[in-house]
C-alpha cells in the first residue's frame, strides 16, 4: 500500500485519483478527413471543409488512426473490441465547428487493460485502464490578438485523439507521475503518440477525491487539461489538501470541474455539476459501426515493437546489466537502441558504464539528446574498442570523448591527431621510471624505509611525465620491479 497520506486534524486521509489522458495519434491525415494532422502550419491551412463543418460534408474513418488505437490497446494489455462505434457529443463552442465532437462514448474500441508502474522505493503497482477510445480534437481559440474578438484556427480540429481512462487506482502524486511517464513511454515505443506535452500532444484530466481508510469513494473533482507531469502531481497534492480542509471544516466537496493555476498554486472552479453540459450523445448517423477483424488485430500484434518491460528483461539477460541500469536504458527506445549498438562487439559492462557515465554526462553538459548527439553509437563503440585493445587507456579515453563531442571527429582520428596512443614499449617506460627515481631520491629512500604509500606517488609522476599515455598496468609492473632493485 502507498505510504502517501494527508494528516488532518480528524485523522489520516488517503487520496483517490483517476486520470483521463488525451493522447494525439501519430498519423498523416486527420481522423475523418484528408487534411494534414501535422502540428503547426499557417492558421487554417490544415483544414478541409469537412473539418470546418460545412453543410453536406461527411466523415470517413482513417484506417491508420484505428490501427494506432488498436496498437495502443495491445501495448496496454487491453481487450480490443472488434465492434466499436462513433457517437456525437453535442455542445456549442467556438472551436467546435460541427457543433458536436465525434467520439466513442458507448462502445470504445479498447476495453480494460493495465499499466505496471515502479516507484522510487522499487515497489511495483498495477494501475487499471478502464478504456481507450478515439475522438476528434477541437480547434484553437486565440484570445490575445484583438480587444473584442477571439480568433479561431481550425488546424487541430479533427486531428485524432486517443482518450485513455484509468481506474481510480492511483493513491499518490508519485504514482500519478509514474503512471503518466510509463504511459508516455509505452506510447512512444509503439509510435502511436509522440507524448510531447509542450505541444499539447498529451494532456490529462485529473479526477481527485479523498477518503479515510476503509471508506467508499467520496465526491470527486475533475481538474481539466493539465499539460505537464509535474503539474499533474502538484495539482493532485493541492486539490487533495483543499478537499481535506473542506471535509474537516464540516463542509462537503461539490462535484465540479476545476482548473489548475500553477502560478498561484491553486485549483479553482470552472463549472459546477449543475452547469455541466448535457452532451446528448447518440450514434453518429453519418458513420457505420466500426468493425475490425481478429486476423487484422493479430497482424498488428505480431508487428508490435518490443515494449519497455520485455526489453528490460532481455537487456538484463543478454548483457548482464543491473535492474537499475536496464531501467535507465529503456526509458527511451532510442537509448536502448544506442546501447545495443554500442554493446554489440564491445564489452557489455564497459559499454553500460561508459554510456550511463561519461556519455550521458557529455550529453547533459552539451544539452544534446540521444537523437541529436554529435557522437553516434558507432563512434562510442569505436572509442571503447580502442580501450579494449589497449590503444588508449581509460583516462585518455575520457579526453577523447570530450574532443569527439566538440569536433565530431572519430575516436581514432583524434588519437592519431593528438598522438594519444598508449605507450606499451617496456624500455621507454623503464627509462622514464629510472629518471623519476633518480630525481626523487629522497622519496625513494622514504619508500624503502617503509612508506609504502609513496607507490602511488611514483605512478602519478610516471604517468604525468608520459602525458598519461603509458599503459597503467605496465607502469605498475615495472615500478614494482625497479623499486625492489
Amino acid at each position: 500500500m502507498s505510504s502517501y497520506h494527508i494528516e488532518g486534524t480528524t485523522g489520516t486521509w488517503e487520496i483517490v485519483v483517476g486520470l483521463e489522458v488525451h493522447a494525439q495519434v501519430i498519423s498523416h491525415a486527420k481522423l475523418f478527413s484528408g487534411a494534414s494532422a501535422e502540428y503547426g502550419g499557417e492558421p487554417n491551412t490544415h483544414v478541409s471543409l469537412i473539418d470546418a463543418g460545412f453543410p453536406g460534408m461527411l466523415p470517413v474513418i482513417n484506417a491508420e488512426c484505428v490501427a494506432q488505437a488498436v496498437r495502443t490497446g495491445l501495448g496496454l494489455n487491453a481487450e480490443i473490441h472488434l465492434m466499436s462505434r462513433f457517437d456525437r457529443k453535442n455542445y456549442f463552442y467556438a472551436d467546435l465547428p460541427q457543433g458536436y465532437q465525434i467520439s466513442q462514448f458507448a462502445h470504445p474500441i479498447v476495453g480494460e487493460g493495465k499499466v505496471e508502474i515502479e516507484l522510487a522505493d522499487g515497489s511495483v503497482r498495477h494501475i487499471g485502464v478502464t478504456r481507450l477510445h478515439l475522438e476528434q480534437d477541437a480547434g484553437k481559440s486565440i484570445h490575445d490578438q484583438d480587444p473584442t474578438r477571439s480568433f479561431i484556427d481550425l488546424n487541430r480540429a479533427g486531428v485524432a485523439l486517443m482518450e485513455i481512462v484509468s481506474e481510480p487506482d492511483i493513491r499518490s502524486p508519485e504514482e500519478a507521475g509514474a503512471y503518466l511517464r510509463k504511459l508516455r513511454q509505452i506510447l512512444r515505443y509503439l509510435g502511436t503518440c509522440d507524448g510531447n506535452m509542450e505541444e499539447g500532444s498529451m494532456r490529462a484530466d485529473v479526477n481527485v477525491s479523498v477518503r479515510k481508510a476503509g471508506e467508499d469513494y467520496r465526491t470527486r473533482c475533475e481538474i481539466k487539461n493539465v499539460n505537464s507531469i509535474r503539474y499533474v502531481m502538484q495539482s493532485i497534492e493541492i486539490e487533495a489538501q483543499r478537499q481535506v480542509e473542506i471535509w474537516e471544516a464540516g463542509g462537503t466537496v461539490d462535484q465540479e470541474t476545476r482548473l489548475f493555476d500553477h502560478v498561484r498554486g491553486e485549483t479553482r472552479s470552472l463549472r459546477s455539476k449543475e452547469d455541466a453540459h448535457d452532451y446528448r450523445y447518440f450514434p453518429d448517423p453519418d458513420l457505420l459501426p466500426l468493425l475490425i477483424e481478429q486476423e487484422w488485430v493479430d497482424g498488428l500484434k505480431a508487428a508490435l515493437p518490443e515494449l519497455p518491460e520485455a526489453k528490460r528483461e532481455r537487456l538484463e539477460k543478454t548483457y548482464g546489466v543491473s535492474r537499475y541500469e536496464s531501467g535507465v536504458l529503456v526509458a527511451e527506445q532510442a537509448i536502448a537502441d544506442f546501447y545495443e549498438t554500442v554493446a554489440q562487439g564491445s564489452d557489455a559492462r564497459l559499454a553500460v558504464n561508459w554510456m550511463l557515465g561519461d556519455f550521458f554526462g557529455a550529453l547533459n553538459r552539451t544539452g544534446a539528446s540521444i537523437e541529436t548527439s554529435p557522437v553516434k553509437a558507432d563512434g562510442l563503440r569505436e572509442l571503447l574498442a580502442l580501450i579494449t585493445d589497449s590503444t588508449i587507456n581509460g583516462k585518455i579515453a575520457k579526453e577523447v570523448l570530450e574532443d569527439m563531442f566538440e569536433t565530431g571527429e572519430s575516436a581514432s582520428a583524434i588519437v592519431e591527431r593528438k598522438g594519444l596512443r598508449q605507450v606499451t614499449d617496456t624500455g621507454a617506460i623503464e627509462a622514464e621510471i629510472r629518471g623519476i627515481l633518480q630525481t626523487h631520491a629522497d622519496k625513494l629512500a622514504e619508500y624503502k624505509s617503509g612508506k609504502d604509500k609513496l607507490f602511488g606517488f611514483f605512478v602519478g609522476q610516471t604517468m604525468k611525465a608520459m602525458k598519461g599515455k603509458a599503459n597503467p598496468a605496465m607502469v605498475n609492473e615495472l615500478l614494482v620491479k625497479l623499486l625492489a632493485e
Binding site: 471543409l49 470546418a52 463543418g53 460545412f54 453543410p55 453536406g56 460534408m57 461527411l58 466523415p59 470517413v60 474513418i61 456525437r88 453535442n90 456549442f92 463552442y93 467556438a94 465547428p97 460541427q98 457543433g99 458536436y100 479561431i152 448535457d278 446528448r280 450523445y281 447518440f282 448517423p285 453519418d286 458513420l287 457505420l288
Partner: protein
C-alpha cells in the same frame, strides 16, 4: 417544346432536331413567365445555363455526347453547387455560396446536364407543404376545378415538383427524408422515386436527418426518372453510408412487365379515414397490375402506425445535431452580439424559421439526458420492427402498392395549425423511409376536384428496376396526360 419529356428531348437533341440552347432558352423564358406565380425557383442561373447549353451543342455536334447532354434540370436548393448560392430555403444560408459541388450534382454535370437553377423547398427540407421556405411558399400549378384557390405543392421538394408539373424543367432533383419526393410528386401529378438508402451519395447535400435522407429524381415519366437516377446514383467513397454496388441501366428494366410479379397490398394502409377517391384509385391500380399479369397478395405490415412517431423522434434528433453547425461563425448569416452564447442565440433565432426551431427543440429534448432511452433508443428499436415488417412482406411479395398520400393537395389556408395533423401527410411515405427501402410515386388519376393523386410502389433493397417495371405498367394503364392550370404549354 412544352410537351417534351426528358427522353424525347434527349432524342431530339441527339438527332439535331433541336439545339440545347433553344431548349434552355425555352425553359428560361417559361420560368420568367410563370415562376413569379409559382415561385418554384429560389435562384435561376441563366448565364450558366446558357453557357452550358452552348458547350452541350458543341459536344452534340461531335456525336459523342454524354447521356444527359444539353438537358435542362432544376436542382433542389439543398444540393451544394460550386459557386452557386445554396440556401436550403433558410435565412441562415441566404448568401451561402459553397466552394464545392455535391456528388449527385457532380454526376449530373459530368453527364452533361444543364442546371436552370435551384428549386424552392421547405426550410432545411422540414415540412410537407413548402410553406416553411424563407423564400416564400411555392404554389401548386394545379387548381381545383372551377376555382382559383392557390394550393400547396407538397414538400419538402415542392419547388422541384411544381417546376416539373408546370413545365419549368425537364426533370429535377429532390431529396426524401420521410416522403419529400413522393408526396409532392403526388400533389403535383408527376413521378418521383426515392431510391434505396445508400444508392445516391449524401456528400454535399445539406443534411436534415442523416439516416433517412436520400436523393432521387422527379420528372414527368417513369422513363425520365430511370434516366436521371442512373446518372445520380453510384458509390461514393466520401459518404460512409454509400453502398458499393454497380448501377444498373434502369431504362432497360422499364418494359419488363409484371407477369408473375407478386404485388402486396398492405392492409394497414387503408384506414377508415382514407378518402373514397384515393381508395378507389388504389383499387384501380390493383386492377391494372392484375390485368397485366401480376399476382395480388394481401399482406400485413403491423408496425405501420408507429412509423410516424418513430420517424419524428429519429429525424428530429438527428436534425437537432445536424443543424448545430449553423452558428454564424464559419458561414451563413450572423447576428453580432457581445458574447459567444448571445451570438449563437441571436444568429440561430434570426436565421431559422419557426418550424425548424420547433424541430430542433424537439430533437434536443428527445436526446437529452434521461430521455435518450425512452425516446431515441426506443424509436430506433421500433424502427427495427418496421424494417422487419418490410423484410417479412418481401419474403412473399416482390413489391407493395399503396396510396402515396392520404389526401390531394390542399390550399395554403387549409393547412392545419396542429403540427401533428401536418405530420400525418407523411403517413404512407414514412415507413419506407424508416426501413430504407426504395419507393416511387406515380400520377394515377384525378380526384373529384380534378387534382392529381399518386400511388406508391415500394420495393426490396436495391430493386429499383422492379419498381420502374411495375411503375411503367401502371403509367401506361393510367394514361395520365392531364396538365395543370399553370403550365408553360398553356402560354405557348
Amino acid at each position: 417544346m412544352h410537351d417534351l419529356t426528358l427522353a424525347s428531348a434527349r432524342k431530339a437533341l441527339r438527332e439535331r432536331r433541336l439545339s440545347a440552347i433553344d431548349l434552355t432558352d425555352h425553359f428560361l423564358a417559361a420560368i420568367k413567365k410563370l415562376d413569379g406565380d409559382i415561385n418554384s425557383y429560389v435562384t435561376v442561373t441563366e448565364d450558366q445555363a446558357r453557357a452550358g447549353a452552348r458547350a452541350a451543342d458543341a459536344l452534340l455536334a461531335t456525336g459523342n455526347a454524354p447521356s444527359l447532354c444539353g438537358l435542362p434540370l432544376g436542382i433542389k436548393d439543398l444540393f451544394c453547387t460550386n459557386g452557386v448560392r445554396t440556401t436550403a430555403s433558410s435565412n441562415i444560408l441566404r448568401d451561402f455560396v459553397p466552394p464545392y459541388e455535391s456528388t449527385v450534382t457532380s454526376n449530373l454535370l459530368a453527364d452533361g446536364a444543364i442546371f436552370l437553377g435551384k428549386t424552392n423547398l421547405d426550410e432545411f427540407a422540414m415540412g410537407s407543404t413548402n410553406m416553411t421556405s424563407a423564400f416564400g411558399p411555392v404554389t401548386n400549378p394545379w387548381r381545383r376545378k372551377g376555382t382559383d384557390v392557390s394550393l400547396v405543392p407538397g414538400g419538402s421538394s415542392g419547388g422541384s415538383a411544381a417546376a416539373v408539373a408546370a413545365g419549368l424543367a425537364l426533370g429535377t432533383t429532390g431529396t426524401d427524408t420521410g416522403g419529400s419526393i413522393r408526396q409532392p410528386a403526388s400533389y403535383c401529378g408527376i413521378t418521383g422515386i426515392k431510391p434505396t438508402y445508400g444508392r445516391c451519395s449524401r456528400f454535399g447535400t445539406i443534411a436534415f436527418a442523416s439516416s433517412l435522407d436520400q436523393a432521387g429524381p422527379m420528372a414527368r415519366t417513369m422513363e425520365d426518372c430511370a434516366i436521371l437516377l442512373e446518372s445520380m446514383a453510384g458509390f461514393d467513397p466520401k459518404d460512409s453510408t454509400s453502398v458499393d454496388r454497380p448501377v444498373p441501366r434502369y431504362e432497360d428494366a422499364l418494359e419488363r412487365g409484371v407477369k408473375g410479379l407478386k404485388v402486396g397490398i398492405p392492409r394497414e394502409y387503408r384506414p377508415d379515414t382514407l378518402p373514397d377517391d384515393i381508395a378507389a384509385l388504389w383499387d384501380q391500380g390493383i386492377a391494372w397490375l392484375r390485368d397485366a399479369g401480376a399476382e395480388i397478395v394481401d399482406v400485413s405490415l403491423p408496425h405501420t402506425k408507429y412509423g410516424l412517431p418513430t420517424y419524428y423522434i429519429v429525424a428530429l434528433a438527428e436534425a437537432s445535431s445536424n443543424l448545430a453547425r449553423y452558428d454564424g461563425v464559419r458561414f451563413g448569416e450572423r447576428v453580432d452580439a457581445a458574447s459567444l452564447d448571445e451570438l449563437y442565440e441571436a444568429t440561430r433565432h434570426a436565421g431559422f424559421g419557426e418550424e425548424v426551431r420547433r424541430r430542433i427543440l424537439m430533437g434536443t429534448y428527445v436526446l437529452s439526458s434521461g430521455y435518450y432511452d425512452a425516446y431515441y433508443l426506443r424509436a430506433q428499436k421500433v424502427r427495427t420492427l418496421i424494417q422487419r415488417d418490410f423484410l417479412n412482406a418481401f419474403d412473399t411479395v416482390d413489391v407493395l402498392l399503396t396510396p402515396t398520400a392520404p389526401s390531394a393537395a390542399f390550399a395554403h389556408s387549409e393547412r392545419p395549425t396542429d403540427p401533428v395533423q401536418i405530420y400525418l401527410n407523411d403517413i404512407f411515405t414514412v415507413p419506407a423511409s424508416m426501413a430504407g427501402v426504395p419507393a416511387l410515386s406515380l400520377p394515377a388519376g384525378l380526384d373529384h376536384d380534378g387534382l392529381p393523386l399518386g400511388l406508391q410502389l415500394i420495393g426490396r433493397y436495391f430493386e429499383e428496376e422492379t419498381l420502374f417495371a411495375a411503375g411503367r405498367v401502371m403509367e401506361k394503364a393510367a394514361g395520365f396526360t392531364h396538365r395543370p392550370a399553370l403550365h408553360a404549354g398553356a402560354f405557348a
